[in-house]
């Protein structure tokens, strides 16, 4: 059983604090993805767990040991680096077996485990080649092989796919997921790509500026973003964020006034959390804003208004529609594609109970951080 626990972990470089007292509990055999824009402290956090960076303050516990002062070699972890970090002068076989050799395993044991890893990752034909003679994808596979032969308590992945081309990235993503199913070790994975995070993670940790913004399963962070940052970071195309103001409507039902004289009712779940006169940001996913009769999901209350579509991007199964409300660009989706001529006026449906409401001054979800 290997849990990883970060308690009030701080990283400082001189005066500059880059990770601010973060707390994180990672369960045994969980696949956790740290995601965030570059410079958010996710790689630094991973490197502190690995022991490649010192921990300035707080505590990191792996299993039942506090590892703050332990060098990387004593933490029983393995790591896959962005640049693969293969040993250039060793063949694939020696690269895979190096850790075991250092740990003084017998030759037959090393051989057995290296062959096993090679089998899992399909490296059989490449065993006697040097890293210089491999393609990017093959090198990545060797780097993963080197991590799994040692059967560590925790796998650490530091943006392992960002050097690969798009097609290979998708392929390797699936392989990593399969690998986790098979070995079932705890995995901590760093990426700036939210698609990778969504597809791989059991739980996603979204970071910004050295803080953790939200922790949750992919669907939790997608359906209940705690603030506008998470809302805009998770999901592609990103969530539309429109400025609005809560106004008193007829019959005591409060409304939210958007630009261009568009008014929508306050969504049911947010009703108790907003007051008349409050400035809010309304978050609408493009999926929830669709022209009438073009793939509207059958989900509860809807509201409709007209928008002028200026640009459309057909993607095959769906088409992204670009429009404007006030000065803000708004993206919608059309699930039954049809040709769009320039500047066509369409009547859009908005699924109201999927609309998110954030406080305009704090950026926080009006429902608060804990909601379901």
């Amino acid at each position: 059983m290997t849990e990883v626990s970060l308690q009030q972990v701080v990283k400082r470089y001189g005066q500059l604090e880059v990770v601010h007292a973060i707390d994180l509990e990672i369960r045994h055999s969980e696949f956790v993805v740290l995601v965030g824009p570059s410079g958010c402290g996710k790689s630094t956090t991973l490197r502190m767990i690995a022991g490649l960076e010192e921990i300035s303050d707080g505590k990191i516990v792996i299993g039942d040991r506090v590892v703050n002062k332990l060098p990387p070699r004593d933490r029983n972890i393995s790591m896959v680096f962005q640049n693969y970090a293969l040993y250039p002068h060793m063949t694939v076989r020696d690269n895979l077996g190096f850790g075991l050799k250092i740990a003084k395993h017998s030759d037959s044991e090393i051989n057995k485990r290296v062959e096993e890893a090679a089998e899992i990752l399909g490296l059989g034909m490449l065993m006697d080649r040097l890293p210089a003679e491999l393609s990017g994808g093959q090198r990545q596979r060797v780097a993963m092989g080197r991590a799994i032969v040692r059967n560590p308590d925790v796998f650490l992945f530091d943006e392992p796919l960002s050097n690969l081309d798009a097609k290979l990235r998708v392929q390797m993503r699936t392989e990593i997921k399969k690998l986790h199913k098979r070995v079932n070790n705890t995995i901590i994975y760093v990426t700036h790509d939210q698609v990778e995070a969504m597809t791989l993670a059991d739980r996603i940790v979204i970071m910004r500026d050295g803080h953790i913004e939200q922790v949750g399963t992919p669907l939790e962070v997608f359906d209940h973003p705690v603030n506008t940052f998470v809302a805009s970071f998770i999901g592609s195309p990103p969530m539309n964020q429109l400025d609005g103001k809560v106004i008193a409507g007829e019959g005591g039902e409060n409304q939210i006034a958007l630009a261009d004289n568009i008014t929508i009712p306050v969504p049911n779940r947010a009703k108790a959390h907003v007051q008349v006169g409050q400035y809010v940001i309304v978050g609408i996913r493009p999926d929830d804003l669709t022209p009438k009769n073009h793939g509207m999901k059958d989900s509860g209350e809807t509201v409709s208004f007209d928008l002028t579509v200026s640009i459309s991007e057909p993607l095959g199964t769906e088409t992204i529609l670009f429009s404007q409300i006030g000065t803000k660009e708004v993206q919608g989706k059309m699930l039954n594609p049809r040709p769009i001529e320039g500047d066509e006026r369409l009547n859009f449906n908005l699924s109201l109970d999927r609309v998110h409401v954030f406080d305009a001054s704090t950026g926080q979800n009006v429902l608060g951080p804990h909601h379901g």
């Binding site: 022991g51 070699r73 972890i77 393995s78 680096f81 970090a85 293969l86 250039p88 190096f98 650490l156």
Partner: protein, 307 residues
């Protein structure tokens, strides 16, 4: 007239242009390299003595070579050179590696240090020889004076008189002069070294020594081979430092190949014989160069495979 225009046309035709342009260089190489080479090879088969020019045409076949191979003094000088080379290059490598690793740890002033390191290389080897001759002199030398003043020894140590000590003193001068070649090249290697494999090795369970032994050192070896190639050529033809410090003496106990060759060629005026020795000793240089170079070529296969 027509012949001349014909030649002109040929010379300036496009196909001929590269050759015409290369011609001056080729002629220069013929004059300064190829002709002396052939001439010296020829004289090694004659009994050519500088004092008697007519001997230039007295061909003696392989007699010079036969004599060399049965000459005890030559073989002593030959193997002394090989031993000297092995000791000097290994020590220079170890010292240079140490210096490079230390400078790599320094966070400021690396460029300045690199420049300072090169100072010994800027001095003329003859002057380096003279300098160390005075340092190691048994009567007036700084070293003996210092040792006696500090009470470490009463007697004057015969640095340049005892065969082994003299050899050591010469080696010291060589090492002082040229360790920086290793240091500079190895430092360049350390600068070029990717950091990721080092971190991967730490995670893979290596302590500092194992990381150095299994990752850093193999990466640096190609740089060391370059330095070794340069230095093996240098040391195999060592002459100036030896000649100024001991002149190959006392009693030939610091005689290396090239001091022996110079003595044979100029002091004894036995140029034919000296040239024969030179050809044998060149084989030594070629052997060392070939060895280090093939190591280098093998290492280049994996360079650049880290990313």
């Amino acid at each position: 007239m027509s012949v001349l225009t014909n030649i002109k046309r040929k010379m300036f035709s496009e196909q001929a242009t590269p050759y015409v342009l290369l011609l001056p260089a080729v002629i220069m190489i013929l004059i300064v390299v190829l002709f002396p080479l052939i001439f010296s090879l020829y004289t090694s088969f004659t009994g050519y003595k500088l004092t008697r020019p007519d001997t230039l045409f007295k061909i003696v076949g392989f007699r010079n070579y036969v004599r060399i191979f049965s000459d005890w003094d030559f073989w002593v000088a030959f193997f002394r050179t090989v031993g000297f080379l092995a000791v000097v290059i290994n020590l220079e490598f170890l010292l240079g590696l140490g210096i490079a690793l230390l400078i790599n740890k320094v966070t400021w002033g690396q460029r300045t240090m690199r420049t300072i390191m090169m100072f010994p290389m800027m001095f003329s080897p003859i002057l380096v020889g003279f300098q160390f001759k005075f340092i190691f002199n048994d009567n007036v030398g700084i070293l003996n004076n210092a040792l006696q003043a500090l009470g470490i020894t009463d007697a004057a140590i015969p640095w340049l008189v005892d065969g082994w000590l003299a050899m050591g003193a010469i080696a010291f001068a060589e090492i002082w002069m040229s360790t920086s070649i290793f240091a500079i090249l190895l430092l360049a290697g350390l600068f070029a070294m990717p950091k990721d494999p080092l971190e991967a090795a730490q995670v893979d369970g290596c302590n500092a020594w194992q990381t150095f032994r299994h990752i850093t050192l193999p990466f640096l070896m190609p740089f060391a081979y370059i330095a070794m190639t340069i230095r093996s050529l240098d040391v195999a033809r060592a002459y100036d430092v030896v000649d100024t410090m001991t002149g190959g003496g006392p009693a030939g106990r610091t005689e290396l190949l090239w001091t022996l060759i110079a003595r044979t060629g100029y002091d004894s005026a036995n140029m034919g014989m000296a040239n024969a020795m030179a050809y044998v000793s060149i084989i030594l240089s070629i052997a060392f160069t070939y060895y280090f170079f093939s190591k280098l070529v093998a290492a280049r296969r994996y360079m650049g495979g880290a990313q």
